[in-house]
Symmetry: C2
Subunit: 208 residues, 2 copies
DNA sequence: TAGATTGTTAATCGATTAACAATC
DNA sequence: TAGATTGTTAATCGATTAACAATC
């Protein structure tokens, strides 16, 4: 239903509102958020009305009200447990990432085929892959992060889906093949950097 | 000119084609790439014709031809030097990332305010920030990666732009404010994960 | 009240798709 | 040749914007 562009915008609004709140503001007008985020005021109002964020005809929106609704929309009021597969460079960085907690996301467990990594001390337990199905079903986990090498990404993906995972954040440079009801987001840092390099040069006087 | 969606698709095609090539294929039809990537055959043909990738009316496209054109389009025939600011979790992961080299991207230098990190051994030299303007102008670097904490991200961003950077890959959870001719890509791992969690639950029978 | 902002409807725009002539 | 695929034009669709009535 909700397009991925829509959810992206919501999180962009959220970030700007947190910033404005830190600056001491309590209320905002759509055109102020527009200035901060680059999206048009009309689009912002439309997005807000879509998730029942209401303003006052003359007084704008209250920042806390918007933040609350957005956080609710994303289910941040409960703890969201996810699993992480692959403890290489990226996996380790994610395991050490602190922002998750603030947003009620918890990397419940990590998995790696390398026993050495399993023995190392992270704040998150690292198991071998055979512990994965048990943990996923026991904790009813529905989201996984794939941070394994390209070669094993599809196979890990297939396994996760078999174990009941419904959403995947994939860092491996592979177009994962998944059934239609599985949501995948591919986050290739390398490709993203190539795009930045390209657009930096191509866009002499044009923004995003 | 080229929308960011367009460049995203090109890199998606590329990934699938590399995969198909590894499987032993030499030629492809638009509908095969469609199957692999999920984009329609018509859109693929239109994208290809836009960057002058030509096929044979009956025989499809040659994989090597497409790959060559795409790599050329992104300037992969030359080495692309970029700078990295911030050697925390993410910065370190990026510094250790090996895929860049394959695609002719080189993290020429990294910067961090912490002298301890500057002394540690990475394959990339780590300097204090005051070395930044010199290196950027000397190597004519136009792209930078920001991997510093949220609080300092805008200030680092302003500095990079002042030094001549035109494109920024930003990992900090901040909506950077930049002049119109600067290209910014925000890659918030945490927000991306939240979106995956959301869409995994929302999308019972619907894909991307 | 006058002025400004929301919330929503209608208009616009651009991107994607459908369709098909060209052609190998 | 018959059949299949490209390349491109016209049609469609959906997302964004413009506009404005409602209202504080």
């Amino acid at each position: 239903m909700a397009s991925t562009e829509f959810t992206k915008r919501l999180l962009t609004y959220r970030l700007s509102l947190l910033h404005l709140k830190k600056m001491g503001l309590k209320d905002v007008y759509s055109h102020l958020i527009s200035e901060e985020t680059g999206f048009s005021a009309a689009l912002i109002r439309k997005d807000f009305s879509r998730i029942a964020i209401q303003g006052k005809r003359r007084g704008g929106y209250t920042i806390d009200g918007i933040l609350d609704t957005i956080d609710n929309y994303f289910g941040d009021k409960n703890i969201n447990e996810v699993v992480l597969v692959g403890m290489g460079n990226i996996g380790k960085a994610i395991a050490r990432y602190k922002d998750f907690e603030k947003q009620n996301i918890c990397i419940f467990a990590a998995f790696d085929i390398d026993p050495v990594k399993q023995r190392k001390k992270f704040s998150i337990p690292v198991y071998s892959m055979d512990k994965c199905p048990g943990i996923i079903s026991e904790r009813k986990i529905d989201t996984g992060i794939i941070a394994v090498p390209a070669l094993s990404a599809q196979s890990v993906c297939d396994q996760l889906i078999q174990y009941g995972i419904k959403g995947i954040l994939n860092f491996a440079p592979v177009n994962l093949k998944v059934p239609g009801h599985i949501f995948v987001s591919n986050l290739s840092i390398c490709d993203e950097l190539r795009r930045v390099i390209y657009h930096a040069r191509e866009n002499p006087y044009e923004s995003k």
